[in-house]
Amino acid sequence: MKNQLKVLRAQHNWSQAQLASQAGVSRQTINAIETGKYDPSLPLAFKLAKIFNSSIEAVFEPDDFDLD
């Protein structure tokens, strides 16, 4: 799953640690999400979107996939 976390964080001039503190997770978790190594759970994805006052679709975007 792709995400805009790094861009949004840069726009708000927040460090990973600051965002992690707001989301109630570790800095390592934010780093792993930003680098695409870890896809967050739905509750955490909603929480991150809410922190940036965005919709979940604006922050997270699924990889291309076929439903067939």
Binding site: V25, S26, Q28, T29, N31, A32, K37, Y38, P40
Partner: protein, 187 residues
Amino acid sequence: MKENGTNDSGQLRNRNIALGAGMGLVIGGGIDMLTSDSGWGLVIGILVGALVGYFVKFPLPVMEYPAYIIRRILVSVVLFLGLLFLSQWLLDQYLDIPYQVIAALLPAIPGAYLAYSIGSAIAQLDELQRRIQLEAIGIGFGASVIAALTYALLVQVGIPQVSWMFVPLVMILLWGVGKLWTMWKYR
């Protein structure tokens, strides 16, 4: 900027060395206790752990737990080790069989509390850290089963038998290896 980078990498290296040495201390100390060795297990464990820490170039995240969880784990570890030694001493006293059974079961009580405390500690982690722990425990458990079965076959070939008490040490060591691997994967 470059100086900051050098300081950061120095701090990272020192922290990884300290964490590796700590892990080596637990494993080496355990081997020493089991083999009644003169402290070489401890020394070698610390040195090997520090060496592994030196070569690990990514930050080993320290998982933070609430103070009450750490207290609970420390109390249960101290009680467990204390009762383990007491149990061993009682078993050496040639008691009647029913008392020997009771003595042998003594460490299981704080052991159960320790297992509960470890479960509580993992539940306090965030979702990625829980995944890292889960994968590391899975790797440690699976590798320990394979190691135990391989060892059992090798004993049939004639290699010397060691105390089954080595099993928890091997499990801790392989859990550590599994954790190192999963932390690297999500670094």
